[in-house]
């Protein structure tokens, strides 16, 4: 006798989204979260009294409009504040500044290169066109190329037709974008190193690739597909931190009747006669359900939570071959006052946007080279925001929080372990940033360093990979997470998978949770028939 219609393992934002959609469709849903905080990697935590950190994920732009609309998220107090600019300080005291103000951006780029200022407009237009061409794929269940099932053949034909109708040039541009390195792609447009470096940095975030690695240009587009109030590309953060997004989705789920339990770690998926029928908690408690949806990455789900005998050797090999190497870290700081950047002294609009430490392509590439061989970058790439500048609720009056995303920090270190190296990484980050903002060390009140190991231990992300699996071409779309299982179903009947490890991949999108829930509903309807 099932207690619930569906159990969702993990209250990450995708699991919560799946729960909300299932509950909205009238299902009796239970969400089980291991931690005391809901949200997975999209959380706000007050690590030090008065200072609220978006501990892991720190910006949002790709949150699906259909999710916002269908779950009526604005009703629950979701406000996203746009991050309007990117400021790149340079070692020589100069800087690059780009913002939503097109005229100003043009002038700023023209300071470095007039040709690049011209090209930037055209580049932006092309990226928007390509983003529009690719966006339908974000809301699509990937068709299975090896199947003759009419649904899949039709899906493939529709996909082919979609690309054919793009017209010659756009199709070729897209083909190039999908396969080139971000450095090579940007080399064809621009000459200014610091501009190319800052732009290509978004192509390597969360990947174990460098700006010269083929397959990084495509990720450039991923970050151009964001939408805030219909405007492409803008990034923002949620008032109250990323945890607000998760809280709001959780509220929507509860509103529709879902039950959410925290500090309830799931140990195993219960399987009887080849079908998932519930879970066993670490406490030993068994809870039954007709359907189980896991929002946890495939290695944890299949290799830790499921009796090995229930899965074929081939599938287990596919899952263990799934690449999930973490390469990122976070350093979250509490500051007594604002940082003072030599390139742009004092307080200013540059502190209300993103700050990028990316002075040249070589700088980022060298950091990547070190990571390839098992060292964290001695001069890391950083993507920094000061949420408290636009949202004073994040820190005590006059004080600030600084969120620093760091690459590269490889999960596998050549020497030592991450617990040993944690502070060394923190020191490297602070030392490097101090070169650009010399007052930094004087104003740090607290420091939290989240290494790939911490991401794994605390947040359940295997090998600390922030996207629950690398976004390489062989692990995308109908190949994500593994070939043949890209539609949220698994070899175990009634067990489903959602999360960044499924299509459409990483970033705080909630797309996967929604698509997975819809597939669950399709299957339950079939059963009713």
């Amino acid at each position: 006798m099932a207690n619930y219609d569906a159990i969702v393992i993990g209250a990450g934002h995708n699991g919560l989204t799946a729960a909300a959609y299932l509950a909205k469709a009238g299902k009796k849903v239970l969400v089980l979260e291991r931690r005391h905080v809901l949200g997975g990697a999209a959380v706000t935590e007050e690590i030090y009294p008065g200072f609220r950190y978006s501990v892991c994920s720190y910006v949002v732009s790709l949150l699906r409009p259909e999710v916002i609309r269908e779950l009526a998220l604005p009703n629950y107090d979701l406000e996203i504040i746009p991050l309007d600019s990117t400021f790149t300080p340079m070692p020589n005291g100069d800087y690059l500044f780009r913002s939503g103000d097109h005229a100003r951006t043009r002038r700023e780029i023209a300071r470095h290169s007039v040709a690049d200022a011209e090209a930037y407009e055209e580049y932006g237009r092309l990226m928007v066109h390509m983003a529009m061409a690719v966006k339908p794929l974000l809301a699509m269940i990937p068709p299975e190329p090896a199947s003759w099932h009419p649904k899949n053949v039709f899906g493939l034909a529709r996909l082919g037709n979609h690309f054919r109708r793009l017209g010659g040039e756009l199709f070729y541009d897209l083909a190039k974008l999908m396969t080139m390195s971000s450095a090579d792609f940007l080399d064809q447009w621009f000459e200014t190193d610091v501009l190319k470096a800052t732009m290509s940095a978004s192509g390597i975030i969360g990947t174990f690739m460098g700006p010269r690695s083929p397959g990084t240009a495509y990720v450039l587009l991923h970050h151009y597909m964001g939408e805030l109030d219909g405007a492409f590309r803008s990034w923002g953060f949620a008032r109250g931190g990323m945890g607000t997004i998760s809280r709001v989705i959780a509220d929507a789920a509860r509103h529709h009747g879902a039950e959410i339990r925290s500090q309830a770690p799931v140990d195993q998926v219960l399987i009887r006669r080849g079908r998932a029928c519930g879970v066993v908690l670490a406490s030993g408690e068994e809870i039954h359900a007709k359907v189980v949806v896991s929002g946890v990455d495939p290695k944890r789900t299949f290799l830790k939570m499921i009796d090995s005998q229930c899965l074929s050797r081939e599938f287990k090999k596919q899952v263990s071959d799934f690449k999930i190497r973490g390469s990122s870290a976070k350093v979250n700081l509490s500051l007594d006052s604002l940082p003072d950047f030599t390139s742009m002294p004092g307080a200013g609009p540059h502190l209300a946007g993103a700050i990028s430490i990316s002075p040249s392509i070589d700088y980022i590439e060298q950091g990547y080279d070190e990571a390839k061989y098992g060292d964290f970058s001695r001069r890391p790439y950083m993507d920094i925001i000061l949420p408290s500048v636009l949202d004073p609720s994040m820190a005590p009056p006059g004080k600030h929080v600084m969120s620093i995303f760091v690459q590269y920090a490889p999960y596998d270190l050549k020497t030592g372990t991450w617990p040993d190296q944690r502070e060394a990484l923190g020191d490297t980050v602070v030392d490097t940033l101090s070169e650009y903002a010399p007052n930094l060390k004087d104003i740090i009140l607290h420091r939290q360093v989240v290494t790939p190991w911490d991401l794994e231990q605390e947040f359940g992300l295997t090998e600390g990979n922030i996207f629950q699996g690398e976004l390489t071409l062989d692990q995308l779309f109908f190949l994500r997470p593994v070939a043949g299982w890209a539609n949220y179903r698994t070899p175990i009947k009634n067990l489903y998978l959602c999360g960044a490890c499924t299509h459409p991949g990483g970033g705080v999108m909630a797309a996967s949770g929604r698509l997975a829930a819809l597939e669950v509903l399709k299957d339950t309807q079939v059963r009713l028939l």
Binding site: P145, A146, S147, W148, G168, Y172, A175, K176, T179, M180, D184, Q188, M209, R212, S213, P214, G215, K317, D321, K323, D362, E365, D369, K372, Y373, T472, L473, D474, F478, L479, A483, G484
Partner: protein
């Protein structure tokens, strides 16, 4: 009035193949070669008296069997010799790896390094063989392109879709997955031995700008399995007389069909009028007219050098300029007094590929330097000693050695190639010496071809032997320029057929072959 039906510029192996097929189809063909020796990069040259060396390319195992039999190359003297063993990968500690032709023998050797790797080797090779055969089939697919926008063969497409499905679900998924992968990831899924992985990754590294950890390297690996291969390694490749023997046989074949070949004859310009190619101009000033002009010369040298820039539309011109041909290889040719004595393995293991690259990390590091404008001091080396398979290449008891070195970037940041030529040669010799003590003492003579030398000698942009990088964005319908993959150019009657066109480099002969097919088909269509 045209003198010829078609002029082929450049008697490299692709130009020769195209010329031979067109002549065989009854066309009046003239082939023009700048150098006094015919063959492009597939040449044997006696650079040191008494020593015949394949100065550029050294293996022809990827060459299409279809072309060999269509043009009766064996009758014209072409003989492909086996690699025995397939590969030898020495290691400094003396524990090397020999990969032999027969799977049981190969397994036995591999087992000395890893038992599970030994068991997996044959299945790996068999899978990759199936996938590379499918790739070869895919290469033949006609694709819509800007010259023929309606060129979509539904029948051919369905035939391919059917053949794809015949692979079975598992192989289909593997094909889709492996095509964009990194070879390091692929090899790590199958094998544990660093030395074996390093050895097999060699095929993925050839003329590549990026290392084995980068996406697209698995495609490069698959591409190099065309022709005589067991799926992971070439099984044949030496040519009797050195690789120049292939070019000589192609010349003989072309002549037997009535083609005229002129060497030491440099073309300086392609004549165009009203977007139509009508002939060429020689260095001597002589003009020769033809109905079709076909260039097997390096793609950028052709379109940016032989054609007036005003004859090409700006968008196309920009795309040609954007073709990436970053040179990363250097060639070192040596005359040896005796065979090198590797500390691991005996001299009986030297009759195939000698691979210096004892791990994936080594190969990845070797590729890093080029990014920063340095040549690698611990380079990846693909070495052959062709005189073992064909003793006629050197005096009795002595040998010639052919070494491909990676990475050596065309643009050095802190030096220039005139100054760096000998240090590069020294670095290569030093590297070999680490595996074969005493090696430097056996060197009688040495020729170092830097990327600059390769560019000047063989007219290869940046010295890139494939004319354009075989990166994922520069293959299939993207090669040489997106939408222009059917050997035509925006200039009517001007065709291109070199390695810079589909399906790319590796001495396969396929660009020339497919180009000839398109040219012949278009000819009949026009009439």
């Amino acid at each position: 009035m045209a003198n010829y039906d078609a002029i082929i510029i450049g008697a490299g192996h692709n130009g020769l193949v195209a010329g031979a097929y067109l002549a065989r189809a009854g066309k009046k063909i003239l082939l023009l070669e700048r150098r006094s020796i015919l063959g492009g990069i597939a040449v044997t040259e006696e650079i040191f008296p008494g020593y015949k060396i394949p100065t550029c390319a050294h293996l022809a195992g990827n060459f299409s069997q279809k072309i060999i039999s269509d043009l009766e190359l064996e009758r014209h003297g072409f003989k492909l010799l086996p690699l025995t063993p397939l590969l030898f990968a020495p290691r400094q500690d003396g524990q090397g790896l020999v990969i032999r032709r027969e799977f049981p023998d190969a397994a036995q050797e591999i087992a000395r390094h890893s038992k599970s790797d030994a068991d997996r080797f044959q299945p790996f090779c068999e899978l990759l063989k199936r996938l590379s055969e499918f790739l070869a089939m895919l290469y033949q697919a006609p694709v819509p392109n800007k010259a023929n926008p309606r060129n979509f063969h539904l029948v051919k497409f369905l035939e391919l879709a059917w053949k794809f499905h015949r692979l079975g679900a598992r192989d289909m998924h593997e094909f889709l997955r492996i095509l964009p992968m990194s070879i390091a990831d692929l090899l790590s899924e199958w094998f544990e031995s660093d030395l074996l992985k390093g050895a097999l990754a060699g095929r993925a590294m050839l003329a590549s700008f990026v290392g084995p950890r980068q996406q697209g390297s698995a495609f490069n690996f698959l591409h190099h399995q065309l022709g005589q291969s067991n799926g992971a390694l070439p099984t044949a490749g030496f040519v009797r007389g050195g690789i120049g023997g292939l070019s000589e046989a192609l010349c003989a074949a072309a002549k037997s069909y009535g083609a005229e070949i002129r060497s030491a004859t440099e073309v300086t310009k392609i004549i165009t009028a009203n977007n139509l190619a009508t002939g060429i101009v020689l260095k001597s000033g002589e003009e020769i007219r033809a109905e079709r002009i076909v260039s097997g010369v390096d793609i950028k040298q052709t379109l940016l050098g032989l054609v007036e820039p005003t004859a090409l539309d700006p968008h196309f011109l920009l795309q040609v300029k954007n073709i990436r041909s970053r040179g990363t290889v250097a060639k070192i040719n040596l005359a040896l007094d005796s065979l090198p004595m590797f500390s691991s393995g005996d001299q009986a293991a030297l009759g195939g590929i000698i691979h210096i690259g004892p791990s994936l990390v080594y190969l990845e590091r070797a590729s890093d330097d080029a990014k920063y404008g340095r040549f690698s001091k611990r380079p990846f080396l693909e070495i052959t000693i062709p005189s073992i398979a064909d003793p006629s290449l050197a005096p009795a008891g002595q040998h010639v050695m052919s070494v491909w070195m990676q990475s050596a970037p065309y643009e050095l940041r802190e030096s220039n190639w005139q100054a760096a030529r000998q240090p590069l040669g020294d670095a290569v010799v030093r590297t070999i010496e680490e595996y074969a003590p005493g090696f430097s003492q056996t060197i009688l003579d040495r020729q170092v071809l830097t990327p600059l030398d390769l560019e000047e000698t063989y007219k290869l942009t940046q010295g890139h032997p494939y004319h354009a990088e075989m990166a994922l964005d520069q293959i299939f319908f993207m090669r040489p320029v997106p939408g222009w993959s059917a050997y035509q150019t925006p200039i009517e009657n001007l065709y291109v057929c070199g390695s810079g066109t589909h399906p790319g480099g590796g001495v396969t002969g396929l660009p020339g072959y497919y180009a000839a097919q398109v040219i012949t088909k278009n000819w009949h269509a026009k009439k």
